[in-house]
């Protein structure tokens, strides 16, 4: 399969929804061992204006963080099942749906486990080798409209979605590393070298 057909997938978010998700505030990113990162977040009402604002803040914070391809509500201190992901222009991306913002998302199908190294803005000093499904279907609700959507994807976008859904459930990549030698200190002299799933 050539990579030329990658990134040709339809964008997930309707323009009308995106229009409501601008102007978010850049929030401080919470780091482990903050309790909010280890607690399962409650389901949220995607049409609630507070939840829409939360989603806008997640996008704004992701956009200003170098190398950040996803951010979940607990990472800005809010327990709840909402996150954003955008793996556009990432070297490891195959299928790509552009900016994805989902509320109450769950994995409905997963296959083909592949090991990859992950980082996280909430665990800034470590990376870890984590096995994730490389073929994935996720369903969840769009902010603003509350529309139920399902996306099927693969490779890096699949990894990013699983990482963020884990955050919403109170799990960090540390909980999923592949073994005792799968945790690595981030090389401080190469701050941008590891791709961060966040």
């Amino acid at each position: 399969m050539g990579s030329s057909d990658a990134r040709s997938d339809a964008l997930l978010m309707p323009t009308s929804v995106l229009a409501q998700l601008g102007g978010g505030r850049v929030r401080e990113v919470v780091t482990a061992p903050a309790a909010v990162l280890s607690e399962p977040g409650p389901e949220l009402d995607p049409t609630d204006p507070d939840v829409v604002r939360l989603c806008a803040d997640l996008i704004a914070t992701m956009r200003v963080s170098p190398g950040c391809v996803g951010l979940a509500a607990p990472q800005i201190g809010v327990g709840g099942q909402a996150f954003c992901v955008d793996v556009s222009n990432h070297a490891k991306t195959r299928t790509c749906h552009g900016l994805i913002v989902l509320v109450n998302a769950v994995v409905t199908a997963a296959s083909r486990n592949v090991k990859g190294r992950e980082g996280c803005m909430s665990v800034p000093d470590l990376t870890g080798d984590v096995k994730r499904a490389a073929r994935l279907t996720v369903s969840g609700r769009l902010p603003v409209t509350g529309e139920e959507v399902s996306i099927s994807t693969d490779e890096f976008e699949a990894r990013a979605l699983q990482h963020e859904i884990d955050h919403c459930g109170g799990h960090l990549f540390i909980d999923k590393v592949a073994g005792a030698h799968a945790l690595h200190p981030r090389k401080v002299y190469l701050p941008a070298a590891d791709s961060r799933v966040e």
């Binding site: 780091t31 061992p33 000093d125 960090l172 540390i174 073994g179 005792a180 799968a182 945790l183």
Partner: protein, 171 residues
């Protein structure tokens, strides 16, 4: 045939492994298993070597190679102790705020359940303490009870603990 276990500790700098390996190959001692890591700038290496050179001669040669900057110990390896009970492998991960007693508290729970830790990494990164341990449990171990006991102990220490089967891909 002599089989020896050798440990090397030193401040990390280029060339240490070459010095040790060079001394061993000069004695025609064959390097078999080895593991090396650097923690906070300290190099630590364990290696197993086998050959016909008597342990005294190996100690002398490595003592010379050690100079005044390496700490080297050489120990004879006895007959292999083969575990007789069939076992299953698990991975214990723990993370939380650093405090005294995390490793001792949780490894004690593992050992009381008959678990044998075969690999362990701990990292202190900023204020975050992380532990990952690979554990062999006897085939008849009560994994649910162990998991519960670990959860209770972790909660008392204010950390999160997860125990899951260690996946092995057979290809």
């Amino acid at each position: 045939m002599t089989t020896l276990a050798i440990t090397v500790i030193s401040a990390d700098r280029p060339g240490i492994i070459a010095r040790v390996a060079g001394a061993l190959s000069g004695l025609r001692m064959n390097l078999t298993d080895s593991s090396m890591t650097v923690l906070s700038g300290q190099l630590a290496m364990t290696l197993i070597c086998a050959g016909e050179t008597p342990i005294g001669a190996v100690r002398d040669a490595l003592g010379e190679a050690a100079g005044d900057d390496l700490i080297i110990h050489v120990l004879p390896v006895g007959a292999q102790v083969v575990p007789t009970v069939p076992s299953a492998s698990y991975l214990l991960t723990v993370h939380g705020a650093d405090r005294l007693g995390i490793v001792s508290g949780l490894t004690t729970v593992v050992s009381e359940a008959g678990g044998n830790i075969t690999d362990l990494t701990t990292r202190l990164a900023g204020g975050l303490y992380v532990l990952a341990a690979e554990i062999d449990l006897p085939a008849d171990a009560d994994v649910t009870a162990l998991r519960d006991h670990l959860t209770v102990t972790a909660a008392a220490l204010g950390v999160e603990a997860e125990l899951q089967p260690l996946e092995r891909d057979e290809l």
